[in-house]
């Protein structure tokens, strides 16, 4: 590339363009103004979307990354702009989402002087970033940006933050960009150990009651096809974590449902009955394992993960297979026998029947007057035919959506899994839509989380981002209330909310909106929402005090999963 002298701020734009970025989310302010000036000049090449809060910008970048598989980019000014990104950065870190955050910083000669809007965002973000770096000289920009994108998306993806002092943004230098191809201290793709493949194949071939639990690693590794081949050839029943769900269609005959605190009855109970557990791209989160001391003790465990630090972190395993699961799954599938496990699978079916009778039937076909979250999700399924991307926050609505939504395609379930961030869904949904414009995006949000980032309706309105927003309103912080009911003798401390008129608020943002109270109106309303080509807010008023079951009480064993 030919050299030309440009400012650091312009170099930021060129670096982003060199990395194939065409959309960034952000919010301007003093210390990042030189970069914004370049956004203005380059607006035909690089779209900048103004969020209404930096937290909205970062969650949008996360949603964008998760629907598109590309790196999301969020940009903010120094001080409060930067600290407002932190929740989203932590969320991206724990859910392995590739995002690059750019923050402005006070001029380098003022660093450490408690200057206006100075904050140590490098120090603050260090424990929640995969990598971060403060640029104080313009010449560092191309190399650091190249490294940032390489680190964010390689290996186990994660968030990276680049802090740029204002003087570095003004400084002129000779710009030259070359992509990062490797870092000597960083090995994103550990080599697969062949002997562990041998061990895994032997265990799989002789297992009588094998069980697969898969997570988001299958999606992050673009290994959906390899995973499906493995499941089908091995004939092993497979259950998912909430971040893994859409990697295999919901209707697949070997998809037996969800594991974890509000997972399905069979997969949880039978975790403690299987003789072999094949864990793929998942990290044995405590919400999945319950009490780790009583988790799958009877089983041999094979653990496929790209991150060596996940091996034996929470659960001791017999056979670790460290590396890219796209590759390791292929190696295993080639060598295993084609089998079916009908008798073993019938156990999952039997337990599903019990769960249906005790939980699912009344969730989906309620006899009571009030609407349920479950039937709301089914109505969305019917109208979207399982083609939609469903975006959720955290709480009851999230569990119900993950349990009942129908998925056909990968990258269709976007939710705040590890961090459990209220306020994630609304901005993440607008990001997801921008990352997958040809797909329907439906945000399903509780009334609590919705109000944490409700200001992003402004962004959705201004850009007319056609996301469909469903508020499952029970006038409660439902999940906390459920715990208060079950474990704190119904002392509903600060969980009941007197809510505003959500339809009026949506209309204040000039968005189409309606409210549903009665069963007979639910399906027509969802149909109107899905048929609309514009953003749409649908408030569904549901039963105030419904609970989500099955449930494994916190710290209990997966075999203690309760149906009521």
């Amino acid at each position: 590339m030919k050299k030309k002298k440009i400012s650091g701020a312009e170099a930021v734009i060129h670096s982003l363009l060199n990395e194939g970025v065409d959309l960034v989310w952000g919010y301007p302010g003093g210390a990042i103004m030189p970069v914004y000036d370049e956004f203005y000049k380059f607006q035909d090449k690089l779209k900048h979307i103004l969020a209404r809060h930096e937290q909205g910008a970062i969650h949008a970048a996360q949603g964008y990354a998760r629907s598109s598989g590309k790196v999301g980019v969020a940009i903010a000014t120094s001080g409060p702009g930067a600290t407002n990104l932190v929740t989203g950065i932590a969320d991206a870190q724990i859910d392995s989402t590739p995002v690059v955050c750019i923050t402005g910083q006070v001029p380098s000669h003022l660093l450490g002087s408690d200057a206006f809007q100075e904050t140590d965002i490098i120090g603050i973000s260090m424990p929640v970033t995969k990598w971060n770096y403060q640029i104080t000289k313009a010449f560092e920009i191309p190399e650091i940006f190249a490294k940032a994108f390489y680190i964010a998306k390689s290996g186990r993806p994660g968030p990276v933050l680049i802090d740029i002092t204002k003087d570095a943004q003004f400084e002129l230098f000779d710009y030259e960009y070359s992509k990062c191809k490797g870092i000597r201290s960083y090995n994103p793709l550990p080599k697969i150990n062949n002997s562990s493949i041998d061990d895994a194949v032997k265990l799989i071939n002789k297992a009588k009651k094998p069980f697969i639990v898969w997570g988001q690693g299958v999606i992050l590794g673009n290994a959906e096809d390899e995973f499906k081949s493995f499941v089908e050839k091995s004939g092993i029943p497979a259950a998912w974590t909430i971040l893994g769900v859409s990697a295999l269609p919901t209707s697949h005959e070997l998809n037996v449902g969800m594991v974890g605190m509000h997972g399905n009855y069979g997969p949880n109970l039978l975790t403690n009955e299987c003789d072999l557990l094949v864990a793929i791209g998942m990290r044995f989160d405590d919400r999945v394992t319950g009490d780790p001391k009583t988790y799958a003790n009877q089983a041999k465990i094979i653990h496929l993960d790209i991150d060596p630090a996940e091996i034996n972190k929470n659960i001791k395993v017999e056979v670790p297979i460290i590396g890219d699961c796209k590759e390791s799954l292929k190696l295993i599938t080639e060598r295993i026998e084609k089998r079916s496990h009908e008798k073993w699978i019938s156990k999952f079916d039997d337990l599903m029947k019990i769960e249906f009778d005790k939980v699912i039937n009344s969730d989906l076909n309620p006899s009571k007057k009030g609407l349920t979250m479950g039937e709301s999700i089914i109505a969305i399924n019917e109208q979207t035919n399982g083609e939609a991307i469903i975006v959720t926050d955290v709480g009851q609505h999230q569990m119900v959506a993950c349990r009942y939504a129908n998925f056909i395609h990968s990258k269709s379930n976007i939710t705040s899994g590890g961090l459990g961030t209220m306020g994630f869904a609304l901005p993440a949904a607008m990001g997801a839509k921008m990352g997958a414009m040809n797909r329907e995006v439906v945000a399903v949000i509780g009334d609590g989380g919705y109000q944490m980032t409700i200001q992003e309706l402004g962004t959705i309105f201004q850009l007319q981002i056609p996301v469909k927003i469903v508020i499952l309103n029970n006038d409660f912080l439902g999940m906390v209330r459920q715990w208060q009911q079950l474990f704190f003798d119904k002392r509903y401390a600060s969980t009941e909310m007197i809510n505003p008129d959500f339809v009026t608020i949506a209309k204040g943002y000039y968005l189409d909106s309606e409210r549903v109270n009665d069963r007979k109106d639910l399906r027509p309303a969802v149909e109107r929402m899905i048929k609309s080509k514009k953003p749409y807010v649908l408030e569904i008023c549901v039963e105030k005090e419904d609970n989500v079951f099955p449930m494994i009480p916190s710290g209990a064993s997966v075999s203690d999963v309760r149906l009521s």
């Binding site: 260090m126 191809k181 490797g182 000597r184 991150d307 972190k313």
Partner: protein, 177 residues
């Protein structure tokens, strides 16, 4: 219950601002107290080496070392028991000069401990002692009654008996390129 013991963690890293913070955050997040800490440039130019001593279970230290190694700028991290390393600490003792002449016994203490007098001036003199914790501790106790003005001890420095092979890792990377 798994027993806790001393482990020496050796971390080879790039020489970058803030890496110390990134490493200490790993301990902070897990509520692990660091017993001793020291850092310097290693045998390889631009590669730094951190020596961190912790009192932990083996399974605990294994996990922490994996988290350390996961950091982008960490080249490699190891953990060793005391018997797997050669380690030393240094200590400095500042004493009143008058006590050297008034308390004849001090001279014997210094001689017996194989300590070294670094400097002497009319007001004070400084003794240096390198050895195991017990050695510097014993001298501390022996000198305390003679009016110790200041006392300081360094973090542990250690080399491993086994090979660490950092140059090999760096060369492999170079050859891949």
């Amino acid at each position: 219950m798994e027993k806790k013991k001393n482990f020496t963690i050796s971390v080879y890293t790039e020489n970058n601002v803030g890496l110390l913070h990134r490493l200490s955050a790993i301990f902070l997040k897990r509520h692990i107290n660091i017993e001793s800490f020291s850092t310097s440039e290693s045998e390889i130019k631009d590669v730094f080496r951190f020596i961190i001593v912790v009192k932990m279970t083996k399974s605990g230290v294994e996990k922490v070392v994996k988290q350390i190694e996961k950091q982008v700028e960490v080249i490699k991290a190891f953990y060793h028991t005391d018997s797997e390393t050669i380690f030393q600490e240094s200590a400095l003792y500042k004493m009143k000069s008058s006590s050297l002449f008034e308390e004849r016994h001090i001279q014997n203490v210094i001689k017996d401990s194989n300590a070294r007098i670094v400097t002497v001036n009319p007001e004070f003199f400084v003794i240096e002692k390198t050895g195991f914790r017990d050695d510097t501790e014993k001298l501390y106790k022996d000198l305390k009654s003679y009016g110790l003005l200041q006392f300081t001890r360094s973090g542990r420095i250690a080399v491993s008996k086994e090979k660490m092979g950092i140059s090999e890792i760096l060369n492999t990377f170079k050859n891949q390129k």
